[in-house]
Symmetry: C2
Subunit: 342 residues, 2 copies
């Protein structure tokens, strides 16, 4: 059985969306067991049909979107998110999922679950849909776990994301790129120049060079490595621009007279399908990579569909044995480094 710890209280639509997503997932996958952490009232509202694969753990506190992450994780010892993370830390669960306060979940990952030996800074890794059917996934890392990064951290992100792409997304030799303000070597600020050096010399890494942000959705690379500040700006810009286009499209079609309305009706199914391509609720959550067990962050606005898909993803990650493999890799690297220095 794959044991998934779920924070029932996190996210704008919690607990309802979480409960519905959990029920769907338990129904779809018979090899998972869900530990649901939340207040007594929420837990009471869950149906009893999955009793043998659904464990309810009552908690008395909740970390809200307004809470200051580090303070909240340290002080709210009985928060659903923190208690769920402890179950992972102590081996009672294999993975944790929350749609709650991002900063708090990252902090929980660091302080409760703990870093893999050899990793300085775990990073946040969303999988972004591209417009290329042959190469439909883009991994962006770090998408915002760390506001400041050094070149060595970017190198670690490249390894972490490569292992994820290989093990979980089953991509052979994933193409790693560095987000930069031009494609030529030597471009960018000091951080990019140093990172380019490290990446191009790194063994066991398929580094294909710099990528400009305008090419991210083209499917030419599998992984785009960047610092967390830039990654956050890219992710949010994508989110905002896609939302803006669809909003404007809707407005244009509804305000533009009978011809537009008719045309709009005809293409509605096609538009819906297209919007789904960019809908991250299909893609699961962002994964905090570099901690000992997988920590999955579903979008704050996650609906039941998004929660369901994040659970599906959690299951795949555990099945792939990604976390064990990555821990081994980094421990060996650290060991090799020590041997080299002797």
């Amino acid at each position: 059985m794959i044991k998934i710890a779920v924070d029932a209280m996190g996210g704008d639509n919690a607990p309802q969306a979480v409960i519905e997503g959990v029920i769907r997932a338990l129904d779809a996958y018979k090899d998972i067991e869900i530990q649901l952490y939340g207040d007594q009232e929420t837990l009471n509202s869950m149906p009893n049909v999955f009793e043998d694969r659904l464990e309810k753990i009552a908690t008395t506190e909740v970390i809200t979107g307004e809470d200051e992450p580090v303070k909240a994780v340290r002080r709210k010892k009985d928060a659903s998110m923190v208690v769920a993370a402890k179950a992972v830390k102590e081996g009672r669960a294999d993975v944790i999922l929350s749609a709650g306060n991002t900063g708090a979940l990252l902090t929980t990952g660091l302080l409760v679950v703990g870093r893999i030996k050899g990793i300085d800074r775990p990073g946040l890794m969303p999988v972004i849909p591209t417009i290329n059917e042959k190469s439909p996934h883009l991994i962006l890392m770090d998408a915002g776990a760390n506001a400041e990064s050094k070149a060595e951290h970017l190198l670690q992100y490249a390894y972490l994301a490569s292992h994820y792409a290989k093990n979980v997304l089953k991509i052979n030799e994933p193409r790693v790129s560095l987000v930069n303000n031009g494609t030529e070597a030597g471009k960018g600020d000091e951080l990019r120049k140093q990172a380019y050096e490290l990446l191009s010399k790194a063994p066991d890494l398929n580094f294909v060079g710099n990528i400009e942000a305008k090419e991210l959705l083209s499917g030419h690379v599998d992984i785009a490595v960047t610092d967390g500040f830039t990654g956050n700006a890219i992710l949010k810009t994508l989110e905002g621009s896609l939302k803006s286009v669809f909003k404007l499209l809707k407005r244009t079609l509804s305000e533009g007279g009978i011809t537009n309305k008719m045309g709009g009706l005809l293409i509605k199914p096609a538009l819906k399908k297209m919007a789904e391509n960019f809908d991250d609720s299909k893609k699961g959550g962002a994964v905090l990579l570099g901690v000992k067990k997988p920590v999955i962050k579903a979008h704050g606005s996650a609906n039941d569909e998004a929660i369901y898909n994040a659970i599906r993803q959690a299951r795949e990650i555990v099945l792939s044995r990604f976390s064990e493999e990555i821990a081994e890799f980094f421990e060996n690297s650290a060991e090799n480094d020590r041997q080299m220095r002797k």
Copy 2:
């Protein structure tokens, strides 16, 4: 007469698109005079109808997209871009426009036209269309002139962009925001924290706080201040995501059977109008702010429409006396600083 120096050789569609844009602009605005810099053959191909308002200056060199900016500007003394900038520097023209190598044009702005006293780092400022009809412009600065920035530079960008918004776009008390990874004060890396401090204390500036990148197109602010590396990533992400959506929309409508095709035909005019909203060829070029005279960068892929609009914009900037006003403001600030320190 407003004297506009135009680099005929810059951009992917040069010289044809430049020539056509220049002809349209000369036709539309009787108060402008164009100085066209390019090779003899290009100049010969221009019609003679505007002889009194069109001066042709033959140059023998061209800076290409592949040239290393600083080297090219220093060595290619007779390049169309460099000679055009000299005319501005020496007062024979009021403004320079080029669709050529961005880095080279920025370098030309710095080395040939020269910085305004009191400005450390001129920045690149595009005007981006929003989806808000009441507030249709977003000024992003710096969009990539400088790969590394300090907090003081971000403060200078805020003043430069505010003056531009007031004088050229006629926005009263433009709302200045700082691009950050969260809206609360205290968010971000060290650079953002310092910049927030400076911006919130700055006199004569309507600072409204942090903005997340997902809100940039909402029209809630007029100006988004950021470092050039992040600004470049944001601008390119926007460009790439919009292009991707329209590509996918086209594909969806053409491949989806007769219903989609019919629907597509019906809404085609509406879609075209919508795409135009995001089409930066309507918005003019990006302006290098902080140099003594306006330097305008049209998009590398600029067509005649984009060149025409960039010339319209050049004319508006000169008419607004923006450069004189900003130079005065920064010299006074520097003077005040000196007085304060005495």
